[in-house]
Symmetry: C2
Amino acid sequence: MAGPRGAYRKTAERREQILDAAFEVFSKNGYSASSVNEIARTVGITQTGVLHHFSGGKTELLRAVLERRDQAAEGLLDHRTGRDFLAALVDISRTQREQRGVVQLYTILAAEATDPGHPARPYFTERFARIADAVTAAYEQVRAEGGLRDGVDPRRAAVSTLSSVEGLQLLWLNGLDVDIADDSARVISGFLVDPL
Amino acid sequence: MAGPRGAYRKTAERREQILDAAFEVFSKNGYSASSVNEIARTVGITQTGVLHHFSGGKTELLRAVLERRDQAAEGLLDHRTGRDFLAALVDISRTQREQRGVVQLYTILAAEATDPGHPARPYFTERFARIADAVTAAYEQVRAEGGLRDGVDPRRAAVSTLSSVEGLQLLWLNGLDVDIADDSARVISGFLVDPL
């Protein structure tokens, strides 16, 4: 009874299972200390079984895990501009308060990617540059509408916003009394005539 | 000729060599993927030779490397208060622009320490709490002298300052066009009546 359609669905389910396991193993060990073998054991299949679905091995698994995370966030930012875009950044931080494991994986990988030879390096370099540009554009639009405080440079405000968001995650995960959403909102509001 | 004094000096030199090697190996691999054996090979001695000087093994080596880093920074902050303290934070960032390897090791370890079971976890939790308190005290003193902008809460300003510094390091190491000293100074100045 399982025609091509059933086989396809089964493949998609197995891929999701493998990505769930990869996420769990990377979160626990960091990327460097993780192995395809451990990911396979977590799913309950062989290493060859994992490589059948992800022939690029550990590097491809990492990229797929990160892309799955970004898709959810990008849905929240789509078609937003100016203040709306900045408010959506805070909404993403609010969602992430409930996703400690994801934020932790992301934090460890972003730190490991500071090594220029790390396979996630291009992903993070491109990602930070892209987000910095998008946040700069949002502040520029706020300025065009007269909503930016005097003397605030959109690019520097974007760098401050992005660095605060990254730093707040690190402090939160290390036990400091911060609220990654409220404290991000406060930083952004510091650049605006009317707070968020 | 090598009396107790000479023997002591030799021990101190060997400890420094081992810490230099530990720093190099931790920087390259991160803590989790590093081994006492590799550190020993880098010095050109046996693993037993390393454990003779650091009987606590990898955990003790990590703590010693981090403490050595902090001593330099704390020298710059000693006896400073208020605006002077905040300006010294920027000076520390300026120094760190020339110490990419140290900042990278620190960034990776701080991220790994988000795992509550990591041996560096108590160090980072205590360190972030201590710095946040010291920066809060500095902003409180600035406020007492009338130098804080209206509506700025010293604690929240301290959290923003610390998160920005941490985040700027991460963005810098991942290739974004930030200046960890100038951008930190800009964040701090945003809370002050007169910029730094």
